[in-house]
């Protein structure tokens, strides 16, 4: 009677261990699968926002361009007027749309003005519409939308910003 009870107890304990082992192995295999999916990718560093410096160069080059019609620098005109005129707007289109839209890396290009850092952007006739992202990079419509931007204060009231929206990979 005692032996039978002992035997049953041992069988129960062994069963617990066997089930426990199977559970442990299953958890381990699931973990390995998750890690291989998430962590087994090639790890590349770089690529994000690296074009920013080059965009800054283009913006500086644009500011430093001498307008043949008025004989003034583009920056001087923008500083005075606080907006694009036909000459400065056309050149901005040629420079920013022309160079960056054709690279195939960016889905949208916008350049324009803003009054104060927390004020909305002003629309203009030279760039279709402001790309719908907030200043913190979070998009209103697409959560994965990333962009690089370069902005400069052109006078006490206004700043100019150029924004390139990266293509969603």
């Amino acid at each position: 009677m005692l032996d039978e009870k002992n035997m049953r107890g041992q069988v129960g304990e062994t069963m617990t261990w066997m089930v426990g082992t199977i559970v442990i192995i299953v958890i381990l295999l699931v973990s390995i699968f998750i890690v291989s999916v998430l962590g087994g990718k090639e790890r590349e560093i770089g690529g994000e926002g690296e074009g920013e410096r080059i965009l800054g160069k283009s913006l500086l080059g644009y500011f430093g361009t001498e307008d043949k019609n008025s004989g003034e620098l583009i920056y001087t005109q923008l500083e005075k007027e606080g907006a694009f005129n036909p000459s400065t707007g056309k050149l901005a289109q040629d420079v920013f749309e022309g160079i960056y839209h054709n690279t195939g890396l960016y889905s949208g290009v916008w350049a324009g003005f803003f009054e104060g850092w927390f004020q909305p952007y002003e629309s203009n006739d030279y760039f279709e519409r402001r790309i719908s992202t907030n200043r913190d990079g979070k998009s209103i419509f697409h959560t994965n939308l990333k962009y690089i931007s370069e902005s400069v204060n052109i006078n006490k009231e206004k700043g100019m910003e150029v924004r390139l929206i990266e293509k969603v990979k």
């Binding site: 390995i32 770089g46 690296e50 283009s58 500086l60 080059g61 420079v95």
Partner: protein
């Protein structure tokens, strides 16, 4: 009582077996995450392109001395003060791991109107930029607008290539 001791011994073996399985699993997962090297070549190629961009145009204005310097056409590394020395591994010293190319064209006339072209490094790497696949050099293309002191706007295109596949790709 004797029977109980036998069960404990078997369970101890079992316990150790599970311990080893779990340990092996953790080691395997760690290797999965950290076993592959960090590929920093894109960043390196971008830095090279940035450095060359500063050399060609500073503050948005095209550097005329860069254009007139005869060395700019064949020795970009020297002219731009870039050290192209590499580690003495995988035979990198014998085969150059970098390639740099700069073309400057008249902005208004279009990209075909190239009036300056300079390069340096291993030209053979350039062919690999047209191929897609693994274990190939990283190619970074950059272009920007600049204005010359003597008047006239230009489009500067920079191609920067880093090979170093032996260490960054596995």
């Amino acid at each position: 009582m004797r029977n109980r001791k036998g069960t404990d011994k078997i369970l101890a073996v079992y316990w150790f077996a599970i311990l080893f399985i779990v340990a092996a699993g953790i080691i395997y997962m760690t290797l999965l995450v950290y076993g592959k090297p960090f590929d920093v070549r894109e960043m390196e190629a971008s830095l090279l392109a940035d450095k060359v961009a500063d050399c060609v145009a500073y503050g948005g204005i095209l550097d005329e001395s860069f254009l007139t310097n005869e060395n700019s056409k064949e020795n970009l590394f020297v002219v731009c003060g870039i050290n192209s020395e590499v580690e003495d591994t995988y035979g990198w010293r014998e085969q150059e791991q970098y390639y740099l190319e700069v073309t400057i064209s008249d902005f208004k006339a279009g990209p075909g109107s190239i009036y300056f072209s300079g390069r340096d490094g291993n030209l053979n790497l350039k062919d690999d930029c047209t191929i897609k696949g693994e274990g190939l050099p990283v190619c970074v293309n950059r272009q920007f607008y600049t204005y010359g002191e003597k008047g006239g706007s230009s489009l500067v295109k920079i191609l920067s290539i880093v090979k170093k596949t032996d260490k960054n790709v596995r």
